[in-house]
Symmetry: C2
Subunit: 128 residues, 2 copies
Amino acid sequence: MDVTEADLPAHDSSDCKAVNAVLGRVGDKWSVLIISRLGDRTLRFNELKREVGGISQRMLTLTLRGLERDGLVTRTVFATVPPRVEYELTALGHSLREPVDALARWALEHQPEIAAANRLYDQRSQRS
Amino acid sequence: MDVTEADLPAHDSSDCKAVNAVLGRVGDKWSVLIISRLGDRTLRFNELKREVGGISQRMLTLTLRGLERDGLVTRTVFATVPPRVEYELTALGHSLREPVDALARWALEHQPEIAAANRLYDQRSQRS
DNA sequence: CAGTATCCTCACGGATACTG
DNA sequence: CAGTATCCGTGAGGATACTG
């Protein structure tokens, strides 16, 4: 979806491609938000849309399709009227939360250092 | 840089923004590649360009500036001729490798499941 | 060698409208 | 409700040329 699946300079082993695909997923803002929202409980399409907030219908659909394709989310359609579709994290999806949370913890832990580095860099490049 | 710094729907706490910024970094293909290449030893600009492979001069510069701004990489200029500029991971940069490697391990470990899910999804959506 | 400057493309993603 | 279809603007990023 968001990863160059095809012909990289050939030094890219299939392992690297798999890793890049996952890194791409994690780098995708919507995917991570959706996964975190689905961590607690299963949600319907519009519930998800409301909970995530700020996502367009289009991107919600596309992102969910991608997550479903990667086996991270299941999509269950109830043949009622009006239609009811529930999205739920798979075991694989749940297992992804651990390394992602580790990354989030790193971010929070080192946020002060990063912010400080930013300020330093910015004031230095200001007196160009 | 690659994160919506400004006005999200306001439900986005500053913590979330910090996490998103880091996730964005990790999702950036070039940043991760550069960090991993700098993990072993310091490298010069063109060494880095060669080692990474497939990156344009422009993106290498931009990515390095971003990494430097976040305090993940140091840029050392030697006033020689021809100029010599060395890039090195900071302690912060090194510490980022741990959670990133955890993610990479997850990717490798679950690659078969993901590939299987992909095949299943694709063949199902084929008989549309 | 280590960049900066410029141009140009195209695909990511938002907005809107329509449907089973 | 849960989508699909379409149009469209923006900007990320490659290619190329130039410079201290």
